[in-house]
């Protein structure tokens, strides 16, 4: 509020008193909010790195899993690493193509009709379904009939990834300008050709990076695996289609509540491995986005 003072022209100072203080406090609170978030994040990352780094080694990542009471110097998490790679890999192979096709349906074919809107809405709802439900679901529908296996776990993770891939792919497809599609139709392409040869390649960078983030999320999930792969292994089971299996998050879960320091140390090492994996995938996703959006600027 500018008041004209007699001697030195209009008063353009900031509003004085209580209003200004309230504003300052509000800004301070917002910064505090951010700090409140950084502290536990820093704390967790620091702890994981500090406690995990000493046990990490190539032999740790490849040795068989010792009993819980074994000291930290013995054994490793080899079977769990293999399990995570195989199970997450299988889940990715299943969920990503299906998710991309689902997003293609939503954006190129069905979008505005009732069915399209229903599918889009429930796909978003599905991203909020707790991962434990996916585990119970696959247990009820698969494990009950076919037993525990890495594949059942992959199915559960795939169900988790599917709506995430659909949503992120859909957002990428939407960004492709209509003029590119028109240019393709104009030389006599069918809709499937337009989609596969122009739209998809144009959106590919964003699609891949979205898929990588979904993979990072799936690799860290425990609950879907608890009811589908059984765990309890000490040596690796390289066949995901038959027999119980083990994965890194599950190993951490088993070891976390045990009183033995060796088991806990292995848990920290496994946690560091998991976070490093998620981190690598996240960085790869950002790099791909940056590189590909340079190539296909609109």
């Amino acid at each position: 509020m500018a008041a004209i003072t007699q001697d030195r022209g209009p008063d353009l100072r900031e509003p004085a008193g209580w209003r200004r203080t309230k504003d300052r406090i509000a800004t301070l609170l917002m910064v505090v909010a951010f700090v409140v978030v950084i502290i536990p994040l820093g704390f967790v990352l620091f702890t994981v790195i500090a406690k995990g780094i000493s046990i990490i080694s190539v032999s740790f990542l490849t040795s068989p899993i010792p009993p819980l009471f074994a000291p930290a110097s013995e054994g490793g998490i080899g079977p769990a690493v293999l399990g995570t790679l195989e199970i997450t890999g299988l889940a990715t192979i299943m969920a990503v193509p299906l998710g991309i096709l689902g997003a293609i349906y939503l954006n190129e074919y069905g979008g505005r009709g009732l069915l399209g809107r229903l599918i889009g809405f429930f796909s978003d709802v599905m991203t909020g379904v707790p991962s434990i439900i996916m585990g119970l679901f696959l247990f009820s529908i698969w494990v009950v009939h076919f037993g525990f296996s890495g594949f059942a776990g992959a199915l559960a993770l795939g169900c988790l990834m599917l709506p995430i891939v659909i949503r992120s792919t859909y957002e990428m497809l939407r960004l492709v300008p209509g003029s590119l599609r028109e240019g393709s139709y104009a030389v006599g392409a069918t809709k499937s050709r337009v989609t596969m040869t122009v739209v998809l390649p144009a959106a590919l960078g964003g699609i891949v990076s979205g898929a990588l983030l979904a993979v990072a999320r799936a690799a860290g999930e425990t609950a879907p695996l608890l009811f589908t792969i059984l765990g309890g292994l000490s040596t690796a089971n390289p066949n995901p289609f038959s027999g119980a299996n083990i994965a890194i998050p599950m190993l951490i879960f088993n070891n976390a509540s045990s009183p033995y320091t060796g088991a806990q140390a292995r848990a920290w090492g496994a946690a560091l491995t998991l976070i490093a994996l998620a981190f690598i995938l996240m960085i790869a996703a950002r790099l791909i986005t940056a590189r590909f959006s340079r190539y296909s600027r609109y």
Binding site: P177, L180, G183, S184, A186, V187, G188, T197, V198, Y295
Partner: protein, 302 residues
């Protein structure tokens, strides 16, 4: 204008009638001369018969009847919103891509109805190509841009594709500028080059007709000139229909011109496009028959 003349009172009524009759007779005589001088129109490529185009319940264009002839450049001109692009897109079924678009009346291509129930739009578009207002090269290499059409129509042989790409780029007057960087991205070209790339892409599938929707409106005058020269060069092998809001361009390149305008419906406050006049370009610009045409081409409207 005539009212004002009448009110000068310098001429009596019957004398005025005589002048007007004389003017009309002179115009009819000139039109007959135009028609005598005009070569017999060639093969009909397009015939539209009382075509109206709807978006949902909104009537965008009404009652268009005209014919497009082989190896001629036909221009659609008129103020904005008069439906000339809509009519153009009807000729290669691009309006199918708009939800709720509907065509009434018949559009014939060389005697075959374009909107018959068993007609495949992709077959239509392979023969009737289109270049758009804003150049839209694909985010692929220059080579892949031009080879795109032939590839999706089944051509796999690398040698033949190389030939087609070179021929199309030469026809589009772009070959010399890009022949050393065919693998570079098509997005790195200037506006004029990109539009010529899109023209090359269209020519690569060897269409019968090339439709152009204001192809130069996003380009500078030099690039525009290059494209106009290109049009005149390829006219002997293709039939071209061009929408343009630049009247000078129409006079420079086209053989025939169709002038569209807008009908405003007071009750529903809607504007519907309508074909006002269609004829040889010289006649439309020098001696328009309709007053609305005259107002537009002399710059009083639009």
């Amino acid at each position: 204008m005539e009212q004002a003349d009448q009110n000068t009172g310098n001429f009596s009524e019957p004398a005025l009638q005589q002048v007007q009759t004389a003017q009309q007779e002179a115009q009819t005589a000139r039109q007959q001369e135009y028609q005598k001088a005009e070569p017999a129109p060639g093969t009909h490529v397009f015939d539209t018969d009382n075509v109206s185009i709807f978006y949902g319940s909104f009537k965008a264009v009404t009652g268009v009847s005209l014919s497009v002839y082989e190896n001629e450049i036909t221009a659609f001109i008129g103020p904005s919103g008069c439906g000339k692009t809509t009519v153009l897109r009807t000729l290669n079924r691009m309006n199918d891509l708009v939800e709720g678009a509907r065509v009434e009346g018949d559009v014939q291509y060389r005697g075959a109805s374009l909107y018959a129930s068993n007609v495949s739009p992709t077959a239509v578009r392979r023969r009737i190509g289109m270049v758009f207002q804003k150049p839209n090269p694909f985010p692929k290499s220059i080579y892949d841009n031009v080879a795109y059409g032939p590839r999706i129509n089944g051509e796999r042989n690398k040698g033949r594709l190389d030939e087609i790409v070179e021929r199309s780029l030469r026809q589009a007057a772009l070959w010399d500028e890009v022949k050393d960087r065919l693998k570079h991205s098509g997005l790195g070209l200037s506006g004029g080059q990109a539009q010529r790339l899109c023209i090359a892409r269209t020519l690569a599938v060897e269409p019968d007709v090339v439709l152009m929707d204001e192809p130069c409106s996003a380009l500078d005058p030099i690039a525009t000139g290059a494209i106009e020269d290109l049009m005149k060069e390829i006219k002997s092998e293709y039939t071209i229909v061009i929408v343009t809001h630049n009247m000078q361009q129409a006079t420079r390149v086209s053989d025939r011109t169709a002038f569209y305008s807008v009908l405003r419906d007071e009750k529903s406050d809607t504007r519907t496009g309508v074909l006002v006049e269609y004829g040889r370009t010289e006649q439309i610009f020098e001696d328009p028959a309709d007053d609305r045409t005259k107002a537009y081409v002399t710059g009083r409207m639009g």
